[in-house]
Subunit: 236 residues, 2 copies
């Protein structure tokens, strides 16, 4: 941890449980409308559409579009496949807004609170500032500041995000640690000179589902079970 | 307050007492080095250099330069006039860093805490993100996010700052209120469609010193004595 002054946190999956949150929101929403569907399947398919939808921005096929806009397009296309038909504009917006209110993992709020006593802590997410502010307020998380992808007009893993956040914090890349449960995100940060902490989130995609293999020892600066373990290692 | 979702706060003067803070820092710094000088005069002259130094960026005479850079140049020129000679690089940095740690006015921390229970609160300052984060941590202030001028690469009163912050919050300009003790800042925000709240800070430039005349009634949406009064009006 020598020389680390700031910690950046991937958010969806690392800090909040998007899958559990979405499924719960879907159930409530469906119950109020007499709709039943494979909600877990919709959550997983929607999340699966997330990376390719960002790719269209990252590769320059389209101009800047924030996550709400991308999620809006994805869910409008996906919903009918799950038997959710006649989804109007308001319905789409209700579904998109579910990404603004997702439950933190049990250790997130307290882990971040402790880490903030010694380090500058901020999300570095592919969400936009407005979404991340709402998410933090709903979850009871306090950040020092918020780095949404819209500030950089780039999505992770573009280097502009990691280096842009370090620059805005007045830090050298090596003074910043990215904390994430996705090895690919951490690899991209490491390539920019950031320190890296892998946090295990075995339930992110549902029990027993592994999307990215956990990293071998030594691949990242740190490897922890949760944010409370990180706070202990970091001396908070 | 109808429809207001977020409040942005000018910082130097409105939230923190730059003058009292600088004078105190100068005294401590001078005492450790056996230097005495007209510290209040230096603080006032330094602050006076602030607007013209930003003008060189605002008018395009130079590229982006953050407040540390501008303050560095100003103080290096001013210090000798106050008898502070042989100021080396480290000394200049020590002085510049004093702007990163300034005391909040007595009502600021509690006022902002209350306002944050109902509104998104963030600074909108000509300071940069790194400075503002440090300032908030030192003062015990919790923001939802931080808008430094470096995010927009524009200084207030450029419209890019007011409109840029509203856009990042996902708000229409009319859903955002700027809170400031400087009528000129509020006028520029109002011209962009923001609501405005004038807060009286009679000690900003020292007892009895008026730099901008207080605004007549009705010029701004609200006019309050301090942030606690604002929190009461805002129903927090």
């Amino acid at each position: 941890m020598d020389g680390v002054r700031a910690m950046l946190f991937d958010t969806f999956g690392t800090v909040v449980d998007w899958r559990g949150g979405l499924i719960k929101h879907f159930q409530t929403w469906g119950a109020a409308r007499g709709i039943t569907a494979d909600w877990a399947g919709l959550a997983d398919s929607w999340r699966l559409a997330y990376v390719p939808s960002m790719e269209t921005v990252r590769t320059g096929q389209r101009g800047w579009a924030d996550l709400d806009e991308l999620q809006r397009e994805s869910v409008a296309e996906l919903a009918p496949r799950f038997g959710i038909t006649a989804l109007h504009g308001d319905g789409v917006e209700e579904l998109v807004r579910m990404w603004h209110d997702l439950p933190p993992w049990p250790d997130s709020v307290e882990g971040l609170r402790k880490l903030r006593t010694r380090y500058v802590v901020a999300p570095l997410s592919n969400g936009h500032v407005a979404l991340l502010v709402r998410l933090a307020r709903a979850a009871g998380i306090t950040w020092d500041t918020v780095f949404g992808a819209d500030i950089f007009q780039h999505y992770k893993p573009d280097p502009e995000t990691y280096l842009g956040a370090a620059a805005l914090l007045g830090c050298e890349p090596g003074e910043v640690m990215l904390v994430a449960c996705h090895p690919s995100d951490l690899d991209a940060a490491a390539a920019c000179g950031l320190r890296t902490c892998y946090v295990s989130r075995p339930l992110e995609y549902g029990p027993g589902v592994v999307v990215e293999a956990p990293p071998e020892k030594g691949r990242f600066t740190l490897r922890v079970e949760d944010l409370l373990e990180l706070s202990r290692i970091a001396g908070c």
